[in-house]
Amino acid sequence: MIKSILSLKNVNLSFGGIKAVQDVSFEIHENELLGLIGPNGAGKTTVFNIISGFYKADTGSIDLGDVCLLKLAPDQVNKVGIARTFQNIRLFGNLSVVENVIFALQQKIDHSWFHSLFRTKKYLDIEATLRTRALSLLKIFSLDQLADTPSKSLPYGLQRKLEIVRALASDPKLLILDEPAAGMNHSETEDLKKLIQFIKTEFKLTVLLIEHDMKLVMNICDRIVVLNRGEKIAEGIPAEIKANKQVIEAYLGKRS
């Protein structure tokens, strides 16, 4: 049986006169990789911002399992199990690579002010465990050698990778990636493709992926949702999407 993990129903959002998202509904099934595609300005990032709590939908509903996300702030959305990355990388630039990950890990811990203030053994143990966990996570992605470099000095491709690792560190059920291949060259994109597939199987995650690179999307996604001018125009497996006339028109422009 297919179980849906996140469902959007009739979501609407306008900015002044612009209807950025119109009546969008779709579901993400457990353990699938769903692609969200569409031309520039179609409203993909806006959908992400609604899911992650930055924008409040005007109408409609969004549910993660039994949890209604509509009223939650971004930090609460993370707590219920959604982690995301950004179209423009947002790392903590002056924090080291490992601290970026520790930061994500420590949000899951109930710290005691008493122990932190007196730097008790218990506190120091927790700190040491966090670092060990962060390092072993970084090791999986071969970033452990760079653990103590400031994250802003990583090359672009690795910054993208670290942002994904940091999102993973918050132990999400659903990982949402906003154009992770943006600005990457061919071989970096190939690596990214493997990385996403690896995470999906290894961490038993559900992934929602916004992507511009059609080849990448067609290659790795289980299903695809297509947005155009804020509206959903198609949904289906890659082969169906490739053959869909409306999608081709949206991308190539109408032939007259």
């Binding site: 982690a83 947002r90 903590f92 994500a104 899951k108 932190s116 203030l117 007196f118 730097r119 940091r166």
Partner: protein
């Protein structure tokens, strides 16, 4: 620090207090205590403005709340017994922290630099309240506050307050909470998405900072023996800000060094045989020079001891 070095430190700390009682004249002694109080104020501001990167212009307000609370309690509840000073200063700090909590409620709802305006307003409101509150002397101020019985006591208790402030704020700076604040001022949006409640973290930082501002106030009142609304004007907030910036925003121990410099320097300048107040010329020049030569302050974000040994720690 090992146990042995802790004991040595303690012995030196106490011994110095007893020795200085005999060797320093009362003018230098007063200066030493005033430097300590300034450094508590500066460390307090440094935590919110340096570590948490939230610009506050209201130090004087919290110092005033602590000073008046502590002074009134010692006189009216504890019958002018000097050994209650640490207790009343602590209560003053708690009242200031509560005031800080109230101020923080509206301040962090909106994103952006509203805090500077709100804190500026808060400090002014506090000053005007004390100005019109006849029970605590109104514009005449609150007089005959009990003072420390001798320099050694003043030194030991104020010094202990300095060390506790340094220890607490530094521990928090390098703790998970400090990491939250650091991440938050690197990228608020990313921090929020990773599960940190932004406003809550800022409020907590502000409350902690207000607490120590209030603590400084209590010690200030009992060191001077007299306080008035005029002592807690905008100028005080600016002075504290200058000390904090000089020491380095984010360097808690840097605030102590900067306090020494900016407490002693004005006194040296005061003794110059000129008609005009040279301090008014030298301070701005000093500030401008620093902005050009070393905009991050003397120590930047680093603590003093990191310059002496490879790995940090206290």
């Amino acid at each position: 620090m090992s146990l042995k070095s802790k004991i040595i430190f303690l012995v030196c700390f106490v011994g110095l207090g007893i020795a200085l009682n005999f060797f320093l004249n009362s003018y230098i002694q007063a200066l030493a205590i005033s430097f300590m109080i300034n450094s508590i104020m500066a460390m307090s501001l440094n935590f919110i403005t340096g570590v948490a990167n939230q610009f506050s212009l209201g130090s004087a307000g919290f110092v005033a709340v602590g000073a008046y609370t502590s002074a009134v309690l010692t006189k009216e509840v504890f019958n002018d017994q000097w050994y209650f000073i640490p207790l009343t200063a602590l209560i003053g700090a708690c009242v200031a922290a509560f005031a800080g909590y109230l101020v923080s409620l509206p301040s962090f709802k909106l994103k952006g630099d509203y805090l500077a305006i709100v804190t500026l307003g808060f400090a002014e409101i506090v000053r005007v309240i004390f100005l019109n509150w006849n029970h605590v002397g109104g514009p005449r101020g609150y007089n005959a506050i009990v003072k420390w019985p001798n320099f050694t006591m003043a030194y030991l208790f104020t010094g202990a307050a300095v060390l506790i402030t340094l220890y607490v704020l530094y521990s928090l700076k390098i703790s998970w909470f400090g990491r939250n604040l650091w991440a938050l001022n690197e990228d608020e949006i990313a921090a929020e998405v990773m599960g940190t409640p932004i406003a809550k973290n800022k409020r907590t930082a502000f409350l902690i900072s207000s607490f120590f501002g209030g603590l400084a106030g209590g010690f200030y009142a009992h060191n001077m023996g007299y306080i008035s609304p005029g002592s807690f004007g905008f100028l005080l907030s600016v002075q504290v800000l200058i000390i904090t910036v000089l020491g380095g925003l984010g360097s808690i121990s840097g605030s102590i060094i900067a306090s020494i410099i900016l407490t002693v320097l004005p006194e040296l300048l005061r003794s110059l045989p000129t008609k005009v107040d040279v301090r008014m010329i030298v301070f701005p020049i000093l500030l401008i020079l620093m902005m050009i030569v070393r905009p991050e302050g003397l120590f930047g974000k680093k603590e003093i001891w990191t310059f002496f040994k490879k790995e940090g720690g206290s």
